[in-house]
Symmetry: C2
Subunit: 331 residues, 2 copies
């Protein structure tokens, strides 16, 4: 059986362009890893005039995103538009038609994850979103796979690099405003950083972790969330003078009363795993009954790191399609 899996991309910003470019240029290695051949069928974009990687032929591009999600030659839809407006509609549409979906959209999964998983399940489709949490740090994959036979007790982490960059700069003497402006200039913060600063971005990620670790239908708006807007240079300097660093920490715990989740700024001893984060780095600690404590650290944002995680999910989906014949033989 020789199958060629059709892939359709929605969005071609920093992450999307990097994913598309790698799908074309690393084809040989990816096909070998996945065990199945694939073809990039179409890339939905907004702006026809923007410059794109040279590896991508002009004919791939279209402004008709719905047509890509509906295309019968597309088996896997990779959604990298982000946000809730178009992305939510397109992902739901693709899943209802039985398309496998890979997305890095934390807003979408953080607010509609349980519902989208139900749609995927009843359509027999995969829905993967590893890149939505932790960038290249494979938090969800470890919770879902490595610890599949264990019991997760607690997950805590520094999940928002923008806040870390701002707080680090404030520890070095900047005001909040200057630290924010610098983070934007350096590309650590987006043009509209309000979700990052208010802790909403971290809450989306924590909700997704709760859904994965505990099967809890927790949505991000339900998480008590405090951002870093109210923190002054004096607060940060005062903590530093006591050997402490300030970080935005997301916490999740299974208790007798159910799952307890929160996002808030926390002061930490400077040799603490979370205090050691710099810039876009994310750090996560997972406590499991048998495994004990696992600590993970790595790039939590950036086009390249996020693209690595999206490609990992694409390979995972390709693998579920690839080995059908051999699985049948052993079942």
């Amino acid at each position: 059986m020789t199958t060629t899996v059709g892939i359709g991309l929605l969005g071609c910003g920093t992450v999307g362009a990097s994913v598309a470019d790698r799908l074309q240029r690393d084809r040989e290695r990816i096909v070998e890893r996945a065990g199945v051949s694939y073809c990039l069928r179409a890339i939905a974009i907004r702006d026809c005039m923007k410059r794109r990687p040279e590896s991508l032929e002009r004919e791939l591009f279209t402004t008709a995103a719905r047509a890509v999600a509906d295309d019968p030659r597309v088996d896997v839809v990779v959604e990298l538009i982000g946000g809730l407006d178009d992305a939510a509609d397109l992902v739901e549409r693709a899943l209802r038609r039985g398309r496998h979906v890979v997305t890095a959209n934390k807003d979408l999964i953080g607010t509609q994850g349980p519902q989208l998983r139900r749609i995927a399940e009843s359509a027999g489709a995969s829905l993967r979103y590893d890149a939505a949490v932790g960038g290249a740090v494979p938090v969800l994959r470890i919770l879902e796979e490595a610890l599949a036979g264990d019991e997760i007790l607690r997950v805590t982490g520094v999940l928002n690099g923008t806040c870390t960059a701002i707080l680090s700069a404030m520890e070095a003497g900047s005001s909040f405003e200057k630290a924010l402006a610098d983070a934007q200039r350096l590309g650590y913060a987006e043009a509209d950083p309000s979700n990052d600063i208010a802790g909403i971005d971290a809450a989306h990620k924590l909700a997704i972790i709760a859904q994965t670790a505990f099967g809890a239908p927790l949505l991000s708006p339900q998480i008590p969330t405090k951002g870093i807007r109210g923190i002054t240079q004096a607060d940060v300097a005062n903590a530093r003078s006591r050997g402490l660093r300030t970080r935005l920490v997301a916490s999740l715990e299974r208790t007798a009363q159910g799952v307890r989740a929160s996002v808030a700024p926390v002061v930490l001893p400077e040799d603490h795993e979370f205090a050691r984060t710099q810039g876009v780095e994310n750090a996560v600690q997972i406590d499991a009954r048998a495994a004990g404590r696992l600590t993970l650290r790595g790039d939590g944002a950036g086009g390249s790191a996020t693209a690595s995680s999206v490609l990992g999910d694409i390979v995972a989906v390709l693998r579920t399609i690839a080995p059908a014949a051999s699985i049948l033989a052993t079942a």
Copy 2:
């Protein structure tokens, strides 16, 4: 389609007893995670008189290990005997009969991994050995799955807790001999710690990492390996006086000339990720082209941590059997 997957256990030491106990007592959660029902059919042991967990019925136990590997009701063989003598024969035997195999045996995979994978492949069987490297630290899973779409450049790590425990004690003033005796008394070192101290244990693990990260047919005897036997209290104290700590570090790198691997004691600044390891902790750094640097840290040994990893592999195998129907529908 309702399938019940038969599981046979070879070995019931610390790890085996913990795995068997959890398979019986956490059945509901594991079945839910795996998507398929299972039945523990038999447990092969050497000593009939030894005390076993109460969750395990007497009828499960047998001293006929070959009969377990051959049992037609056993679909998944979990090898936790360790070493090369019986284990190698039993694993090969099970694979040739198309049984899926889960093992924590680093000696076996480190010296015969490529050959066993070929046998598994031609028999259409899975061979999983996550617990052979890093204990509960999911190094192999991350290399193989999370980074499946990326290019691994370099993997380094502290992979042997016995050496860390001995070197830490020497840094605190112990002689090598006293540190070793203490590590044995505390359960960090085995009765025969020669493989740990000579770096051979770390070399097995590094070979398995090379096989996974680079698809390289590297075997542990091919790796230049230097252990910690020759290190004196004076060496360690001298390093400490310069703010350095000594750790046994395993390194693996892809170069233009091929894969370069080595195991040797290294001195490191005390805030280095590897210098911060204590006791049985393992720490691993993975450098990938797109993902950047990932750092992992956690319990690298101990019955409970290793059992968590073995159970993760059992769930992974169960999942490949479980969803055959739905995969077919979408393929």
